[in-house]
């Protein structure tokens, strides 16, 4: 496995959010999540190009007000745009319509091209907004927020447990990986390498399973009977209502302008 891939797989630094406090943090997490959902739905169902473009401009405004770290945000956007690029290249050839130009006898359609641009705009607008409004929340706060928004308890528990134990599992992985390196293991493209990585992954699964059983035992010892209790200090304020109302009026404006009519 290449070094950089391995790094991105396991460099989970818990729920530390390295970001400067900004205006966005003054809003209630629930308002931020709801506003993002309304925004995303408004943008993705659009059948025109100008609405996603407007959405992208709004997303830039959110990113500025959240004072996102430029380099980290760019890295994440590029990670997503890799998929988008492939799609933008493919779509003109797979959608039928007026031929724009030909490559090796395959026709690139104008409709496919416009469709691809629409998807690229939508994806970037939504992801950038997510990074600005939701990505600036700590992972556990996001869990609490979803619980408060009445998202099914099981999903919230899954998220909270993932947040809690991703770090433990990744440390376990790193420990085993180091132990392999300490015995002069260098990954090559041969059977020994693949078998060793298989053992590594298998052992990680076994250990995680055993740990989950111990955690469940520990929970039973403290009287667990199917319910987690969460403490938080969220307070809905007037500005949260204003944020939601302005997002809702954006949605109403989009509907009224006929952006959903083909």
């Amino acid at each position: 496995m290449p070094q950089f891939l391995e790094h991105s797989m396991t460099s989970w630094r818990g729920q530390q959010v390295e970001h400067k406090q900004s205006i966005v943090d003054q809003f209630d997490p629930r308002a931020r999540v709801l506003a993002t959902v309304i925004f995303a739905l408004t943008v993705v169902f659009s059948k025109t190009l100008w609405l996603p473009f407007l959405g992208l401009l709004m997303a830039f405004a959110f990113a500025l007000s959240a004072s996102l770290n430029f380099r980290r945000t760019l890295r994440r956007m590029i990670a997503m745009d890799m998929f988008i690029v492939v799609m933008v290249l493919m779509l003109p050839f797979t959608m039928s319509g007026d031929a724009l130009f030909h490559v090796f006898g395959f026709a690139a359609s104008k409709q496919g091209f416009i469709h691809a641009i629409g998807i690229a705009l939508k994806a970037n607008a939504v992801v950038l907004t997510l990074l600005s409004l939701v990505g600036t929340l700590e992972a556990s706060t996001l869990g609490h927020t979803l619980a408060r928004l009445k998202v099914p308890e099981k999903l919230v528990h899954l998220l909270l447990f993932t947040v809690r134990y991703l770090d433990v599992i990744s440390r376990e992985y790193k420990r085993m990986r180091k132990a392999m390196k300490a015995r002069a293991f260098v990954p090559k493209n041969n059977l020994h390498t693949w078998r060793s990585f298989g053992y590594l992954v298998g052992m990680l699964l076994v250990r995680s399973l055993e740990r989950s059983e111990r955690i469940f035992d520990a929970m039973k010892c403290r009287g667990y009977c199917g319910k987690l209790y969460l403490f938080d200090t969220m307070q809905w304020q007037q500005r949260d209502t204003i944020l939601l109302l302005s997002m809702a009026s954006f949605a109403v404006f989009a509907i009224a302008s006929g952006a959903y009519v083909a």
Binding site: S140, R214, C221
Partner: protein, 217 residues
């Protein structure tokens, strides 16, 4: 005087490891702090697990807090009264924040969120961990994790403490702190440990698990 917890002729065996407990008798009385020593894989943790019903004995009986405990529902009360400190603090601290973790037990016991918060803050204060309420659990140091797990057990106001290698992987300062805390607690305890200095400072009676039997030392 009747024992708080008693094991009567308990046997337990694992499919591969074979017999680890062979008709074991053991009792814990109020005010006692017993050590449970023994080699790796001798079955020390299994013994504690059986006491709180996490493992079911193949034969024999567990008597706790006045009556015999057989099925899962019997043990719910036992677990509330016998606080179990696990070997690895990471197994025990599963809530995002310290306060939520410490309050988890009291909330399960039916306390209101405000009461649970109050109890948790008191217990943390008692252990000298005041101000840790909003810390994120997996970012704590080993010694801090250990004391927070102890707080989360004590918050349930147990009558007995079952400690599975509590001084494991602690540095000298953290170990001394833990000894101090444990000395000040009134609960009867069973302590699994290999460290004689740690045990000498705490226990009133020493026992050893060897070849399936608990022997008094």
């Amino acid at each position: 005087m009747t024992a708080l917890i008693r094991m009567d002729q308990v046997s337990y065996s694992y499919p591969v490891r074979g017999m680890v407990l062979d008709q074991v008798d053991m009792s814990l009385f109020a005010g006692e702090k017993i050590s449970l020593e023994g080699g790796n894989g001798a079955g020390k943790t299994t013994l504690l697990n059986i006491l709180v019903g996490l493992n079911k004995p193949k034969s024999g009986g567990v008597f706790a807090f006045g009556r015999e405990r057989k099925v899962e529902t019997d043990f719910i009360e036992v677990r509330a009264k016998a606080g179990f400190l696990f070997q690895d603090p990471d197994d025990q601290l599963f809530c995002p924040t310290v306060l939520e973790d410490v309050a988890f037990g009291p909330l399960n016991q039916g306390k209101s969120p405000d009461e649970a918060r109050q109890i948790s803050i008191e217990v943390l204060d008692c252990l000298g961990m005041a101000g840790f309420e909003d810390r994120v659990t997996h970012q704590l140091s080993g010694g801090e994790k250990r004391l927070i797990t102890l707080a989360s057990v004590l918050a349930m106001k147990p009558e007995v403490l079952l400690l599975d290698e509590p001084s494991n992987a602690l540095d000298k300062a953290a170990r001394l702190r833990l000894i101090e805390v444990l000395q000040s607690l009134p609960q009867a305890m069973i302590i699994i440990s290999h460290e004689s200095t740690f045990l000498d400072a705490l226990v009133t009676r020493r026992t050893r698990l060897e070849r399936g039997k608990v022997l008094d030392l």
